[in-house]
């Protein structure tokens, strides 16, 4: 209680000025109205609509016949859905850890005042310009046992060499991960690089004067200072992971073995459109929304609530 009243009074303090601010830039605010309306109607309205209809037995066309939590019960009793969640968790954790660490290390390397930095930056960021569909198709070919890496190495003489992650249910997620990392790391690197460039040169000078080793400066000083960049990166990467769909469709379409690389978004699409069962698809997408919120709410709290920064 105490903290909420505190926050309220704090906000009031800043709201004393906004009364004058309201009328300032009035034309810009009017211009923003269509955007705000679209956001409210399309995003918020659409979301509420989806959640509401997830409690109905809508088939091909939406209809309001309530069935309570039936769709959710059915969803959580489906093996395919449970496997999808498992796969996504594994992919998500691995992808988060590796993109952030690799992105940061690359950014640090780029920050050493190297020659041709622009060239390297462009090369590293290029994969991000490709859609997941293209990325997936490219890597499907690279990992193809007949034509890809395995084929090339075997042609060079190592005939026992075997590297075929996509056709083995145990390793298929690593195959997806390779493609995902290739695509996403460059982007994280650029975010991190911007963060590193935002660090005041004086910090470095002070650290050098005190004789602190470079690695220690990075770990103990620079990383804590880059907290906002890290949090933004985490949120962007995490929300990208939850909606993972096109990469899987392009690389494995959920296989091998039918289920080994299923993800929740595929379940949503298949049940909404192929099975003509909107209610079930809506229930699954509501669960996805829930997981996005679980990622977003702590972030919003850290960024906007609690102590002010900046």
């Amino acid at each position: 209680m105490a903290s909420t009243t505190e926050a309220a009074t704090g906000r009031q303090g800043t709201e004393a000025r906004p009364r004058a601010r309201w009328t300032r830039n009035i034309s810009a605010k009017i211009a923003a109205i269509p955007m705000i309306a679209t956001a409210l109607v399309v995003f918020v309205g659409g979301t509420i609509w989806t959640v509401v209809y997830s409690f109905t037995d809508s088939k091909l066309l939406p209809r309001l016949r309530w069935v309570g939590f039936d769709q959710y019960e059915r969803l959580w009793s489906q093996n395919r859905w449970l496997i999808s969640i498992e796969n996504l968790m594994f992919y998500g954790v691995m992808s988060l850890v590796f993109t952030v660490t690799m992105g940061f290390i690359l950014a640090v390397l780029m920050d050493q005042k190297i020659r041709f930095e622009d060239t390297f930056r462009t090369i590293m960021l290029y994969p991000f310009a490709l859609s997941f569909i293209v990325t997936g198709l490219v890597w499907q070919w690279i990992l193809n046992p007949q034509f890809g890496i395995q084929g090339v190495v075997r042609d060079m003489g190592w005939t026992s060499f075997s590297f075929d992650p996509l056709n083995n249910p145990q390793t298929v997620l690593y195959g997806l991960l390779i493609a995902g990392l290739w695509q996403g790391t460059g982007f994280v690197m650029c975010l991190m690089l911007a963060g590193l460039r935002g660090i005041d040169e004086d910090i470095w000078k002070a650290a050098r004067v005190d004789g602190i080793p470079t690695w220690k400066t990075y770990v103990m000083v620079i990383i804590p200072m880059m907290r906002p960049v890290f949090i933004t990166t985490l949120v962007i990467v995490a929300s990208g992971i939850i909606r993972l769909y096109d990469l899987v469709v392009a690389m494995t379409s959920g296989g091998p073995g039918g289920n080994a690389s299923q993800v929740p978004a595929m379940y949503v699409y298949d049940y909404m459109f192929q099975a003509q069962n909107l209610g079930q698809g809506f229930a699954a997408s509501t669960m996805m929304l829930l997981s996005v919120l679980i990622v977003l709410i702590p972030w919003a709290y850290l960024e906007f609530g609690g102590k002010k920064h900046g």
């Binding site: 093996n79 073995g257 099975a275």
Partner: protein
């Protein structure tokens, strides 16, 4: 500026009906043989004075159907669209989005000529007819490579039991007994074919037509699951995705057999193989020579334009006409929907199909019996069962649960 644009739009809307009526037709027939078959339909429609605007959607039915449905429900309907007859378009019909073709059907006497009559029943909702069937496809076929057996010095199996008995020798020779693609619907298709072959017609009908769940949970179906568990052992080591890649394993004699629909025939034909000498086809897996009569039909969304509606009805009548049926089905490799036409140009396997059709050994297809929702769930279960070590008893129990959800 604005006025001239307006008048241009007005002129266009007035001028439109005066021209030959254009109808956009959407379908998912994009492979070589399929495209040639569609071209026959387009040719016939253009020759009759209207204009066929082709709206092919690549990627198969699973990709195409959501696009078609969202266009119809989203207020941008096409002139005509392909669906598999059965329950796929049922809700669109019930929502009043489809054109009633009953008068066309009566004028052309569809009730008498369409054989088997179950095809027309699948188009009928509350006594009105909403679609024009164009062909019959059946999934219950076993395709065998003769060469694999000749090399082993074995006779080519004549039914599923002989096939299973010969499988260990095929395996010893380093070949794959049964090719099975990775896509979920293929596992489901294989199971569907084994259902009617192993459980027999009576049990099949009790479950799929009369929806008797006691039979579904009973010993006949336990046998089917046992047989499927055996079959999945034979399919171990088959790591291809698409059905035609699996068919290709049989064509190139790397695999002994494949359970696939009669559309596989097109692949053998393109590869220059001859039915009977290079490959053998066994409808109903050779055990119970029954085929289910699924297939394709055209539905006509309501357009609220009398000119277009007349053209839609002309197209519906044309699709069922004898000339179009012969031209289309010979190219497509499918069976015609009427028994009164001459298909002497058909090959061995197609003739087997025609004979079964003429003998009346036919059953309704999965699309007619079960909703897409049930079929999708069954697909998910089947792919898991065929590709893992799930116990047949467990799969059997889950399968019955899925069927019950569709009652």
């Amino acid at each position: 500026m604005r006025v001239s644009k307006l008048t241009a739009v007005l002129c266009a809307s007035v001028a439109m009906p005066a021209m030959a009526t254009e109808l956009e037709v959407t379908h998912w027939w994009t492979s070589g043989g399929e495209a040639a078959a569609v071209a026959e339909l387009a040719k016939a429609f253009d020759a009759s004075g209207d204009k066929w605007v082709d709206g092919a959607i690549a990627g198969g039915g699973g990709t195409a159907r959501p696009i078609m449905i969202s266009r119809i429900t989203g207020g941008d309907p096409m002139g005509a669209t392909q669906f598999n007859h059965g329950q796929q378009a049922l809700e669109l019909v019930e929502a009043g989005l489809m054109l009633d073709l009953t008068d066309v059907a009566e004028a052309n006497n569809w009730k008498e000529i369409i054989n088997p009559p179950s095809l027309l029943e699948a188009c009928t909702v509350d006594g009105r007819i909403y679609c024009a069937p164009v062909n019959i496809h059946s999934p219950e076929w076993l395709w065998l490579s003769n060469k694999v057996y000749e090399d082993l010095g074995l006779p080519v199996p004549k039914d599923w039991n002989e096939f299973v008995a010969s499988a260990p020798k095929v395996r010893e020779a380093g070949k794959l007994p049964l090719a099975l693609g990775d896509q979920p619907w293929q596992s489901n298709l294989a199971f569907g074919a084994m259902q009617i072959a192993v459980a027999g017609l009576d049990a099949w009908k009790a479950v799929n037509v009369d929806k008797n769940m006691d039979v579904a949970a009973g010993p006949e179906y336990a046998k089917v699951f046992q047989a499927a568990a055996e079959a999945r052992e034979l399919a171990k080591g088959s790591n291809v995705q698409d059905w035609n890649q699996a068919t290709n394993l049989v064509i190139t004699d790397q695999a002994a057999g494949q359970i696939m629909g009669d559309w596989a025939q097109g692949e053998f034909q393109v590869a220059g193989k001859v039915a009977g000498t290079d490959y053998t086809c066994l409808p109903g897996l050779g055990l119970n020579e029954y085929i289910s009569t699924g297939g394709d039909a055209f539905y006509f969304p309501k357009l609220n334009d009398p000119e277009k509606e007349a053209a839609q009805k002309r197209l519906a009548a044309l699709l069922v006409s004898p000339e179009v049926q012969v031209a289309f089905n010979l190219k497509k490799g499918s069976l015609p929907i009427r028994g009164d036409i001459d298909l002497s140009a058909a090959n061995d396997c197609m003739k087997k199909g025609l004979k079964i059709l003429a003998g009346g050994n036919i059953v309704p297809s999965g699309d007619m019996n079960w909703s897409p929702d049930v079929q999708k769930q069954a697909e998910d279960l089947m792919v898991e069962f065929w590709k893992s070590d799930m116990a047949p008893e467990v799969a059997h129990q889950k399968w019955v649960e899925i069927l019950k959800s569709g009652l």
